[in-house]
Amino acid sequence: MPDEVLLLAAIALPWIGACATGLLPTHARNAAAWIAGGTALAAFLLLWAFYPTVAAGGVARADFAWMPQLGLEFSVRLDGLAWVFAALVSGIGGLVVLYARYYMSREDPVPRFFTFLLAFMGAMTGMVLSGNLVQLAFFWELTSLFSFLLIGYWYHTPAARDGARMALTVTATGGLALFAGVLVLGHIVGGYDLDLVLSAGDRVREHPLYLVALVLILLGALTKSAQFPFHFWLPHAMAAPTPVSAYLHSATLVKAGIFLMIRLWPVLSGTDAWFWLVGSAGLTTLVVGAYIAIFQNDLKGLLAYSTISHLGLITLLIGLNSNLALVAAVFHTMNHATFKASLFMAAGIIDHETGTRDIRRLSGLNASMPFTTRLAVVAASAMAGVPLLNGFLSKEMFFAESLSATVPLEFLRGVLPAAAMLASGFSVAYSLRFIHGAFFGPPATDLPRQPHEPPGWMRLPVEILVLLCLFVGILPAATIGPYLHLAVRAVLGDATPEYSLAVWHGVNQPLVMSMIALAAGVGLYALLQRHFRRGMEGPPVLRHLKGQRIFERTVVFLSWRLARTLERLLGTRRLQPQLRLVAAVTLVAGAAPALLRGLGLAPPALAGLDPALGLVWLIGAACAVGAAWQAKFHRLAALILLGGAGLVTCITFVWFSAPDLALTQLLVEVVTTVLLLLGLRWLPKRLPDDGFDAAGPGLLPRLRRLRDLLLAVATGAGLAALAYAVMTRPLPDSISRHFLARAYTEGGGTNVVNVILVDFRGFDTMGEITVLAVVALAVFALLRRFRPAPDSIALPEQQRDQTAYDEAHPGRTVGDTVQDWLLVPGVIMRLLFPVIGVVAIYLLLRGHDLPGGGFVAGLTMSVAIILQYMAGGARWVEDHLRIHPLRWMGTGLLLAAGTGAAAIAFDRPFLTTYFAYETLPVIGKVPVASALLFDIGVYSLVLGATVLILIALAHQSLRSHRALPARLRPAAHAADSLAEAAVPGSAAALASPSSSSQAPSLAPSLATTGDPPRAGPGAAGAAPPARLPASLPENR
């Protein structure tokens, strides 16, 4: 296979595995483990395909177009350093998967765990294999994100949630800083490509922005690698399942910062700023972390602080600006990954088998789990730097470097070795505490579980890692040598120094320092026995310095107190001030340029003013002002006036050559009015004296209204001025020319507006009908749980009167009054159904060439259906017609999308149209364009959405009766009533009962059995009632 495919596979494999495990059912833990393990193993083996290339000092590289406009490529770049880190990520990842399979409980949703783990592995692999810096920052943030999910895996515990949040806040903030730093670095270099950046070291270091880039990038690296003062998130991340800790805090997450510093070492290092920033962070972390680790009572807490300390050691080595120190840093990174992963796993085994990780409770586990004890002893000895183990070798190198480092200040020459020995002594002490505290001494008696050896498979990863510690420790040159060389040469190139990997260098200063540190550590541990027995939490002296508490206070301050204060001072939860503010700011923003530069208004010209249109607009203005005036106390009047304003708008469209708009506006006007009429029923009654003092509004409300009035007038005046200014200017050259020229020649239609909608901008229309569908579904969903206010539940007054009248007169049955209402118009409305239906289809078919089209036709058809509801009532209509708005919408969406997708089959872009004219008998020449199919889709969807919205609302009047007590339960047809605005006419017509004879018996049966109405000869063969009625009784 070509290298490109393999390299892409190396990055993509974990992600594919993550998707696969993510799709597994919750309890498929074996399948998930197999997939995860297989993925990690495959990723590990895949790397070996490139070993010959990188071993020869080469770089495997593959570039894919990512954002070519920005000069960004997705580059996979595999050199020696990336190879070693990727091998650590996938190798230890595989061992962690095996371990986790036995560690995770049967109750945990294990596939989710492996999904996150693999995704994290993918993010890490992507990061180390990144060939450009932006891509690296991207994967860097992904590691933060997935570590958050992993740490918070047991999200039911507060500790996991807090720890995860803290880790995300700290590392993702660092990630943002890193991204900014990368952008600065890219600006300095002139590109983000890694090869380009790595070759521009001198230019970068001399650039005035060097310090900015350095600080930002280091913020990213040091937060990720938990360096002082950002170290505090790491111990809290121990709330994660132990396999996560073993993975994140040995080989991966925290090593990302180390990797970044090594990666950019050739570019950024070699300056005093680098030494001070990196070195001091490393030195402080090394000593403080080791000191705190001694006093941890939790096994994992101890390991967490020891991890912080070891990361400090590596950081310090990187900061020393010496090639040999870099070798030691890379070496220690590898060693730390092996022994720390095995120690975390051992801690997990103890936790798993005994039920506790508290060193004060644990004791003498050697008796019950001797094999695990041996493994842990070896790993901990490696951590302490005992000879013949890998930790010893890198620690020797560290001591040698601390002695020979070139430092900017003379006194540091003494400080460095002293600090190194001090921290080393501490590390011996905490390693001893780990081993002696847990495994030796008298067997513990009060453990939650009876300890015993773990399953063999669970121990296997630990065994492998511990063997590696031993092999590397005894035969370093033969085992780790080539790989170390590989990584170091990828960074240093020809400057790679001579170094010797051997167990015995003779008696020299570093060896003496090691021995002193070992002895001092043992002594310290012995001295501290009394302190440990007191069982105190936290280390002496530093107990009160809690980064975590500072972090929490900062978080609380920033995200709560500061935010609340600002909100209290500047914000409001009230809508009115917000809207006023929006209007005022818009006015100022709009007026400022007009005042500064002039609006260039043409002098108002009355010439050409048509008195007819003037009269129309006089009415329109009166309607608009009247609607604004009446909307509070006379809703129906306001609604009618609103309709008047809409009609005037409609006339204006006709007047100025826009028949399509006029048609649409007219129909929307109809459905909007019906919609709002249906809503009126559920609004509270409001009378002019309601809620106000008898004396009328006071001074303050009057002033408020005056202010609002001024603001509204200013808004209107601004709109008018702006509109006038624009409309009196000559038309600039726009894309319209293109549409007009090609509507027929390329779109096959003479109605340019329709061609734009279904062809040129078909994708926009597709989006718009999708929005329409979403809104209709949202309306439907909201109404399914609709609960009216208590005072709106009772029947409207008019209906009660009708019922009372019917009951009071012996010759009448309940419902007669309503039944007689608007009898003649009702019949006419029913007869109109086929007529309007034909008109709708006519409008649909001619839309491509004449005013009409899917939108208009859909609205027309919905009007036809609404008329039937008004004439016959909901029950009658649903007995006689198949009303399936959801299906219509689905069909419409599928048809529109399918038409678009069909173009792909002909190798054209999505939504390319085909057209021709065909001659049909009788009808004549009709356009046969695939756009017509698309338009039918639009039609179907608009019809479905409109009908769904309207009848979902209309049905509320039927539903609400179930909430009523029985004595108030109304007679049948009153149940069909829809709106309180039952002023004779609109609502009463909607409310009018069916003329079908069985109607009176339906409502009671609905009320008692909850069955949807399906009786009746009319319904027998025809329609299972629409889905909506079936949902009616769910008035939960």
Partner: protein
């Protein structure tokens, strides 16, 4: 003519804005509808007002802005009208649900303390 339509837009927009600042949800919904008319007319006016310009091409021909109405603002406004209906419906249902939940039709979901 431009002056007339501009004034019309101003009156519609001003009335709509006034209603937006009112406390009752029904007022706001009427206000939004009025504002929508104003905005639609405004966008429509971007293509300039022309009476008697042909909106439909002659069959088989191409058109130019000299003879034909500008189709672009019309296409924009046409979908805007339909979407306007949808948002009105959504807003109406939200306000009904809010009224059911809070017992008031005040825009803030609770009556203002006085």
């Amino acid at each position: 003519m431009e002056l007339l339509v501009a004034l019309g837009i101003g009156v519609l927009g001003g009335s709509g804005a006034w209603l937006l600042f009112r406390p009752r949800t029904f007022q706001v919904i009427i206000g939004l509808s009025l504002l929508a008319y104003a905005v639609n007319l405004f966008i429509f006016g971007m293509g300039r007002l022309r009476s008697n310009a042909a909106p439909i091409l002659a069959p088989g021909g191409t058109g130019s802005l000299a003879q034909h109405a500008d189709p672009l603002p019309q296409a924009l406004v046409l979908t805007a009208i339909v979407i306007g209906f949808a948002t009105t419906a959504l807003f109406l249902v939200v306000l009904l649900a809010a009224r059911g939940l809070t017992g008031t039709d005040h825009v803030d979901g609770r009556e203002r303390r006085r």
